[in-house]
């Protein structure tokens, strides 16, 4: 509850600070402090002492999983704001509003990680999406950005409509908006199945799973790099939290065909994301496709829906968000976002190159980084179910493909020569990036450091 209420309040505070404070670099500080406060209060809530005692009439249920997910999202956002605050200022003229919108997104995340009622899911998804449509177009003079925003808005509204339709059907079949199994006489009604499929499609759209991903490359590429960073990480993983709550809650009333449906989506997502990413010349666009590929791996958790899957999803959310935010933070400082632009980075900026290499290794899932355990948990969750071992094998084959395009960036940085143009970076930026890399390595050796929060 803390997250939902406070992030809404902080959002309003940020908007007003836009009126009263005209020093643009101050917004970043205010925002960082507010996020830190939010993080602390969210953690205290997960320790069992919430600030607000509000009767949500069972519309929301704050369990450890949802709260830990909030913590990860808030922490990632904090890192994001601290690393990329400067670039947010450059992305548009309304910096304070941009920060305010980020808080509203967090409010939406707070809802979708803890809902038990489909109406709350709908509201949460909307609160989360609408600020994003605005943020995508925040660079008003950039034509590509405008196109991306409009595209995102149209497609997003469509998917919301589909979701609403699905919710209506579920209500029609079961007479309730609660996320629960409605099975009469052991038969799942057609209306219920169809409704579930429609919601499934809408959520697939939100997490950019194939074949509902077509908006992703254009939007991620068109939006300012700094906004893409936020969309591709925090928002995307929050979508998965919503997804797994839905699937878990209605597992008993979905019929045996669901496995097959999810398996097909996983394979399509992995295949499309990975194979297209291989051919990209622009690193930004490559990361857009790679985010689809990573979504494919996170989808494994929806296939398995067991404890290992939920733990894995948390770990994946942290590993993926931190690494991607780190890469985007550096990317936003570069003039040339193609692969050639990275040539020789290790000579001019050895530390940044080394840290980028760690982030990329983590995304590729190499041991000693958090990304390895994230993938490991996902695979382990599926193997544990004992169904479709072939799916796991397809998964690892595509993981090997993903190594190909991540390593291309490493090759460019380390083994090729070039004159790189990097906007000046402060020492603080470097230290923060180093901190993120250390976190990734620590999670890569002791993943329990994060997961033990689930149990204590």
């Amino acid at each position: 509850m803390n997250t939902i209420i406070l992030s809404a309040i902080f959002g309003v505070v940020m908007m007003f600070s836009g009126i009263f404070i005209h020093n643009r670099s101050a917004y970043k500080s205010i925002s960082s402090v507010a996020l830190l406060l939010l993080l602390v209060l969210n953690i205290t809530e997960s320790q069992g002492s919430p600030l607000f005692h509000i009767d949500t009439t069972n519309f929301l249920h704050f369990d450890k999983f949802g709260l830990l997910f909030n913590s990860i999202c808030i922490f990632s956002t904090l890192i994001y704001v601290m690393l990329s605050g400067r670039d947010i200022e450059k992305a548009g003229n309304n910096t304070a509003e941009a920060h305010a919108l980020i808080f509203f997104v967090l409010c939406g995340i707070g809802i979708v990680t803890s809902y038990t009622n489909l109406l709350m899911l709908f509201i949460g998804i909307e609160i989360l999406s609408i600020p994003l449509y605005i943020l995508t177009g925040s660079d008003k003079k950039n034509l590509k950005g405008n196109e991306a925003a409009l595209k995102y808005f149209l497609m997003g509204s469509f998917s919301t409509g589909i979701m609403l339709m699905g919710i209506a059907m579920l209500y029609g079949s079961g007479g309730t908006f609660m996320v629960e199994n409605v099975v009469k006489n052991g038969i799942v009604s057609y209306l219920s199945a169809l409704g579930m499929v429609l919601i499934f499609i809408a959520l697939c759209f939100k997490v950019s799973a194939a074949p509902f991903h077509f908006w992703t490359p254009d939007v991620y590429d068109g939006a300012p790099a700094v906004i893409t960073s936020f969309m591709a990480t925090v928002v995307k993983v929050a979508g998965f939290a919503a997804f797994i709550r839905l699937i878990e809650g209605r597992l008993g009333s979905m019929g045996s065909q669901t496995d097959r449906l999810i398996a097909i989506v996983i394979i399509l997502t992995l295949a499309f994301g990975n194979l297209t990413a291989v051919f990209q010349q622009s690193v930004k666009r490559m990361l857009a496709y790679s985010s689809i590929a990573q979504a494919g791996f996170m989808l494994f958790s929806l296939f398995a829906v067991n404890d290992a899957a939920k733990e894995g999803l948390l770990l994946y959310a942290a590993a993926y968000s931190l690494a991607t935010i780190g890469i985007f933070a550096v990317l936003a400082k570069m003039d040339d976002m193609t692969l050639e632009g990275f040539n020789g980075l290790s000579k001019s900026q050895p530390l940044i190159a080394a840290l980028l290499a760690i982030f990329l290794l983590s995304l590729a899932g190499i041991p000693l980084t958090a990304g390895f355990f994230a993938k490991f948990y996902m695979l382990s969750a599926v193997v544990k179910t004992g169904k479709y071992l072939g799916l796991v094998i397809i998964g690892v084959l595509f993981a090997a493909v993903s190594a190909y395009y991540y390593f291309k960036v490493i090759q460019a940085m380390y083994f090729k020569d070039g004159n790189i143009v990097l906007a000046p970076v402060t020492a603080r930026f470097k230290y923060l990036l180093l901190f993120v890399a250390v976190l990734i390595v620590v999670l890569g050796v002791f993943p329990n450091a994060l997961l033990s929060f689930l149990y204590f």
């Binding site: 382990s380 094998i393 190594a403 190909y404």
Partner: protein
């Protein structure tokens, strides 16, 4: 405690090495570190019991523990690793590298990964180190290698990474089949698998190991990588890293899937023997010293791969013995090749000749190493190869007979190389001098001594092997 030291010393010193500024200090530091590791490894030979194993909690939720231990085979391979690195560092002490601090840092990290692989008694930990050895090797080859290094190393990386990932699926599968959900080697010996499952998982593991060894037809990455890698790294790759595959089959594959190993034995042995002949024939046609030795290495590893699946105790001892012997021999050959390449700037037979007149000592050393490569009596390889051929022959006369052809072929290409490079007409006379640095000579002398010592008196090593082999054979039966 000892296995932990073997892993931690190179790991920590490797990380420190990245921050060293001067070339001289980086070199000296790496050498010092590797000598310290060697000392620990030598001590391990005289230890038994508790000091050889460590068991600590690592990932309780996953059921994986930090379980490291040294048995006879572990001792031999950690010794090989510990011996090789100081020799490699000392023999190539005069070589110049760009960014020497990173070079030596990555080398030491590779050593840490290798030590971990040879000590791990927990399958998950094993996987962890298996990958850990690969990453620094990737950087070493890509950054300091020859002209085509980037593409070639990448092929090597993708190949082995793909293999590892398949193994990861296999690891997960067997984990859920253990009675107590653990990765410890003792639990993995009691898997309840149906025949179909066992066959399937067997292949997931075996492909990973076969790529690493490499066994025909998974060998295509190897000659290119050996050729393009800087020679010091080639020594690590061919001397030690390929042994990871052989080692892993003996340590994990055979005891975990005894029935499948028997079922697949003939099939794999045929491929291994075909690979031996195939690689030997290609070796004859090479014009580059590095490529020749690379192909000869495929042939030798093929014999080990064939022998492992015969299930005979003598053969298994031969394999373990030969892992050490082959490591020593091939590093010796590489050192000589490195000297020639550094000083004359070429490795091509067509441009070399008559070097024995310029460097008689080098020639003698090289001839002895070559004899060891052919496995003539009095050299260490003779002992290993004899045991191996013997067991292949007992298993199947036809396969044994075909495999024996490779001995002749080995003699053909190895002696041809010796003849072409060191004897015959003197070419490139304008560059008369071939100074073999004293440190290189010393290291070669040590290797020759090891070759001859174990060729005459192999018993201590055989005793070490026997301990492991008895256990494994008991498990398989």
């Amino acid at each position: 405690m000892i296995p932990v030291l073997l892993i931690v010393i190179p790991l920590v010193t490797g990380l420190i090495s990245f921050f060293l500024k001067e070339e001289r200090s980086a070199k000296a530091f790496a050498l010092l570190s590797s000598v310290a590791t060697l000392a620990v490894s030598l001590i391990s030979l005289f230890q038994s019991g508790d000091s050889l194993s460590t068991d600590a909690s690592w990932l309780p939720m996953l059921g994986s523990r930090f379980l490291v231990s040294l048995d006879g085979m572990g001792k031999i391979l950690t010794l090989l690793t510990a011996v090789s690195f100081p020799i490699i560092f000392a023999a190539t002490y005069n070589n110049k590298y760009k960014n020497p601090n990173s070079f030596y840092g990555f080398m030491l990290l590779t050593q840490a990964g290798l030590m971990g692989v040879f000590c791990a008694m927990d399958l998950f930990l094993f996987y962890f180190f298996w990958e850990l050895a690969l990453i620094p090797a990737y950087f070493l080859c890509s950054k300091w290698g020859g002209e085509k290094r980037i593409a070639v190393t990448f092929k090597f990386f993708v190949y082995t990474f793909l293999g590892s990932l398949l193994m990861l699926v296999g690891i997960l599968f067997v984990y859920f089949k253990t009675p107590d959900h653990s990765f410890a080697i003792s639990s993995l010996h009691n898997l309840a698998l149906t025949a179909g499952e066992e066959n399937f998982i067997f292949w997931l593991f075996f492909i990973a190991f076969a790529i690493k060894m490499p066994v025909f037809p998974f060998h295509t990455w190897q000659p290119d990588t050996y050729e393009q890698a800087p020679t010091a790294v080639t020594m690590v790759l061919s001397g030690i890293m390929v042994k990871m595959g052989v080692f892993a089959v003996i340590r994990w594959l055979l005891p975990m899937f005894p029935a499948a190993s028997v079922r697949m034995a003939d099939f794999i042995m045929i491929f291994a023997v075909v690979g031996m002949i195939y690689a030997s024939l290609i070796a004859i046609r090479q014009d580059d010293m590095k490529r020749l030795v690379a192909y000869s290495s495929i042939a030798h590893i093929g014999l080990m791969a064939a022998t492992m699946f015969t299930g005979s105790a003598f053969g298994m001892q031969g394999v373990i013995f030969q892992m050490f012997a082959h490591g020593v021999n091939i590093i010796g050959l590489w050192i000589v090749i490195d000297v020639i390449e550094q000083q004359l700037g070429t490795r091509k037979f067509s441009e070399l000749g008559g070097l024995a007149q310029k460097a008689p000592v080098l020639a003698i050393m090289f001839v002895i190493m070559s004899f060891a490569n052919i496995a003539l009596p009095l050299t260490n390889s003779f002992v290993g190869e004899f045991l191996m051929f013997n067991s292949v022959f007992n298993h199947s006369v036809v396969l044994g007979a075909v495999a024996c052809i490779s001995i002749i072929l080995a003699a053909v290409y190895t002696l041809w190389m010796v003849q072409k490079v060191f004897y015959g007409e003197v070419t490139n006379e304008e560059r008369i001098t071939l100074n073999v640095p004293i440190n290189t000579q010393l290291m070669l002398a040590i290797l020759v001594a090891v070759v001859l010592f174990f060729g005459v008196y192999p018993q201590p090593m055989i005793n070490l092997c026997a301990e492991t082999v008895t256990k494994i054979i008991a498990q398989i039966k």
